[in-house]
Point group: C2
Chain length 248, copies 2
């Protein structure tokens, strides 16, 4: 992917968009997605891996809830990646990831992903450049393998918020009762490393093979949902799926 500078990309919807109109369009998208997921499952030929990355409070959980709730849970599985366990650490970094790749006919959503293994790990200098380079190569090989061998389309979304928006959201978690369960005192410390994170995100985007990352302006949830739902819908449509006839 061509190099990008995240600070040069707007975190907000283009001016003049009508929020209510966009919300309506998104609702229409979700209805279509619901139907096409049924076809994806029935046809049993394709699979989709949705990767959602973004800084703390960029709205990864909210996106999962807003865009993927209308999908029949029989056809979607969500994995929310946390810090690796000792067992996971005793294997290569893709070992745990590979186990949760989608079966044919399925959508698999990864809330965070194997990209953390070249993001947070670099920000904190847990790995050096040589290891990061090896990992980047493995990620490219792995993603290509899934596409070539299980017809897995990978959609990578980066939820792009401004640093100011992040700080505001983290502070909300200290004051709004319904959000306090998300508060983690460590998040504010991580937030101070913003520029370093941006640098390694940009590097990951630049070095990864197709499929390319979608940079989603994410300060406003309604616009974020619209972009992601639209991309997912278009992907499903492009499969040009058909219900199979009776099995012989």
């Amino acid at each position: 992917m061509a190099s990008i500078k995240l600070s040069k990309i707007s975190t907000r919807a283009p001016k003049g968009l009508d929020k209510d109109k966009i919300k309506n369009i998104t609702r229409g998208y979700l209805d279509e997605i619901e139907n096409l997921q049924n076809l994806l499952y029935a046809e049993n030929k394709h699979s989709i891996l949705v990767i959602i990355q973004g800084m703390d409070a960029s709205g990864k959980d909210g996106l999962t809830k807003d865009v993927f709730t209308s999908i029949n849970p029989q056809g979607i599985q969500v994995t929310s990646w946390k810090a690796p366990t000792p067992e996971e650490l005793s294997h290569d970094f893709l070992w745990r990831i590979h186990q949760h790749t989608p079966a044919k006919g399925m959508i698999q959503l990864h809330n965070r992903s194997h990209y953390e293994d070249i993001l947070i790990t670099r920000v904190h200098n847990w790995i050096d450049n040589a290891i990061a380079k090896k990992r980047m190569k493995s990620i490219n090989d792995f993603e290509n393998h899934l596409l070539e061998n299980n017809n897995t389309t990978i959609l990578k979304f980066y939820l792009h918020i401004s640093h100011e928006e992040q700080v505001a959201r983290l502070q909300e978690r200290m004051s709004i009762p319904e959000k306090m369960w998300k508060y983690n005192e460590n998040d504010l410390k991580e937030s101070e490393l913003w520029d370093t994170y941006m640098k390694y995100y940009e590097e990951a985007f630049a070095n990864c093979n197709d499929p390319q990352w979608v940079i989603v302006p994410a300060d406003q949830n309604w616009y974020k949902n619209y972009i992601v739902a639209g991309k997912l819908l278009q992907t499903l449509k492009d499969f040009k799926m058909k219900f199979p006839g009776i099995k012989k």
Copy 2:
């Protein structure tokens, strides 16, 4: 690996070798392996994936029993691959394999392997050349990934028997009570496809990256055990391991 012609490689020990002497040497190897496995586990830096391939009745189970029994079972896991389940088939062919790769400090033995996905599948035309080529690339990428990211040394052994020896062993399974449980009427049909199997084995050997396959003359079990034990021992020695001190 340079192209090889299996029919040109002897399936028997070099003439003049003293069977009893070799058996004694192998016993010494196994004692050393037992000790070094303990060090492998303690040091917790390396891991070994042992792949055993060969035609039916080439002695894969016998090798596993004879050479790996003396290893502390806490430090070794054996996976005997069968025909894939429907769940396994709904994923890429390496999905089930990756789950059974060795953790650091461990030896993992694969009795048959992901190479079946470019062997039996081709002999029976279940996959075409284009898919076989994709799979070969994935295998090379995958093996390289394990080495680079989990310090996994892969030892690949092809148990090389003659077609005549195979037929004799398969017939034994029909007459010796202790071997009847291994009899499968399908094996004799597969045996008729010998030349086609050899062709695809040779192709796999030629197209795979390092580490190279070890072609083990396997008509005589004592020689087969000697070669495999020797290679495993040398691998463990080459790690130049040390007991770690007390953890700080």
